[in-house]
Symmetry: C2
């Protein structure tokens, strides 16, 4: 039986299968003990789409709109004014400062249980503005098969994403088969409150950790404690994770998704603001890492095309 | 077959077994889905001994002595002078500042790979000064059986310890059957260095996170993302973790180890500096949490008694 039915036959699919067969073959010099079969996956642009902006940003926008009734002053205050007026040009002008204000306003100031309920509600109801699909329908079918294939071969699969750890955890188990404790992501600081015998953890409006670029090997070391043998990403933000995996003493595998399909998904790389893929693309070619050409290698992109 | 052969028959053993049978019985109103079967264990005093001082402190002392040849100035400089002279009274006078200096000198300034090699070498050679046993022989046989019993019932077992995360990870897999990514502990800050194509992570002499008291629910939330349903500890430092577990919407289990055996192990509780068990002991009694009386409940303490 074909373990990767949504992958077209060719060098990419062959490279994946021959790697897995080699390192799980007890008679191979490249055999890897089950305990060391750690596979890490970027999320945005690697397991699901990320255009025209990261999906977590749509979540933040929707939250601002939901909260606006309690904040009449936002009509006249940036960056909220731009969000409420759907004025993307104005919003861009607010820069990183504006973005952080939106993220902190929408992601902090509640308990972790409350935030989980908010995310669960949003993820099951919100729609992507272009594709008119639920965001969790915009995961990549070939990557779901790859996750499953690796797990069938006793790899432990992790997400290592620049996205918010508590934004992902409410749905990764159901959507990707990846339990909460195998999700590594960016985080804000938290505080424990005994709360008269009903303990809660409160989300504070302070950055704790950015799980991107150099943050990815740092996060892998902190949460997993081992170098992965398999890593997949799609942008320059994953380069350090792929290099870290490449430094593994075991035979390792580096997979880079190249978004080349402007019809079924989006086509972008070196000059894109979202998912910039420039240095990583050069290094993948230099080092012979496996590059997925989405248009060529994937029979279908999304599960709803099946 | 008895799943807990080193536990004497009685209320404690019965409470554990009846909890596990209840929550894994699909026909019980208390049934817990496999994904939610999270069990967290403190380490020092819960899975292995911690007297006369935390074993990680013996590691630090041994490191100071190993490094002393390169630091002739330590002969006259506190806190190192006290360590080199085995002068515990003088060492205590150096207080928290002295302790932190010893920890940072011995735990930072190398790569994570180098530190792992140092710990592995120490843990396989060093001996406990009183028991004259390897430290990993001083784990609690009844707790090894409990870990195994929970895993056989599809609980995912985690360590949540005030000890250093990278001090524990090199040996928890072999000793407790707990993989590195299921170890939560205190940490120092780290830095990624590309190192001309041979990337390393460097350990910096700065505290990152203290996984004790309020830090335990914070660490559980950060690393695991779910409230445990089962938690075990032995001191006031575990009280917040046990309360956090008690707040689980599922039926939960709180286990407190009371060190009552001055012959086979050590007897200490309310007034001990190491493993102070005072508020936790009162709260366990008030709330009806399960208290292990080590002398009464454990047929053997260490595996070498078998
Ligand atoms: Ca990405
Ligand atoms: Ca303890």
């Amino acid at each position: 039986m074909d373990p990767l039915p949504s992958w077209n036959d060719g060098a990419t699919k062959e490279a994946i299968i021959s790697y897995v067969q080699d390192v799980t073959n007890i008679n191979s010099p490249n055999f890897i003990d089950v305990n060391d079969r750690i596979a890490t996956f970027d999320n945005d642009g690697t397991l699901w789409s990320e255009q025209p902006v990261y999906f977590q940003f749509f979540f933040a926008i929707d939250r601002v709109k939901s909260l606006a009734a309690d904040h009449p002053e936002w009509k006249n205050e940036q960056p909220f004014k731009a969000v409420l007026e759907n004025n993307m040009e104005d919003l861009k002008k607010q820069g990183m400062k504006g973005l952080i204000e939106i993220i902190m306003t929408t992601h902090a100031g509640m308990t972790t249980d409350e935030f989980e309920a908010i995310v669960k509600n949003w993820i099951t109801t919100a729609e992507h503005p272009v594709k008119k699909r639920k965001f969790t329908e915009m995961v990549f079918q070939p990557m779901l098969e790859l996750l499953e294939y690796l797990r069938a071969n006793e790899f432990k699969t992790f997400i290592v994403s620049g996205g918010g750890i508590e934004f992902m955890r409410p749905w990764t188990e159901q959507v990707y088969g990846i339990p909460k404790d195998q999700v590594v992501g960016s985080s804000i600081q938290t505080e424990y409150d005994y709360n008269n015998g009903n303990p809660v953890i409160k989300r504070l409006a302070k950055i704790d950790f950015i799980d991107d670029k150099e943050g990815k090997p740092i996060g892998i070391n902190r949460f997993i404690g081992k170098k992965p043998v398999f890593a997949a990403g799609n942008s320059d933000g994953d380069l350090q994770m792929l290099r870290w995996t490449d430094a593994n003493e075991h035979k390792s595998f580096q997979l880079y998704i190249h978004h080349t399909d402007s019809i079924r998904e989006w086509a972008y790389d070196r000059k894109s603001h979202i998912g910039t893929f420039d240095k990583g693309l050069d290094e993948a070619q230099e080092k012979g890492w496996t590059l997925v050409d989405m248009e060529r290698d994937w029979k279908v992109v999304y599960p709803f095309e099946l």
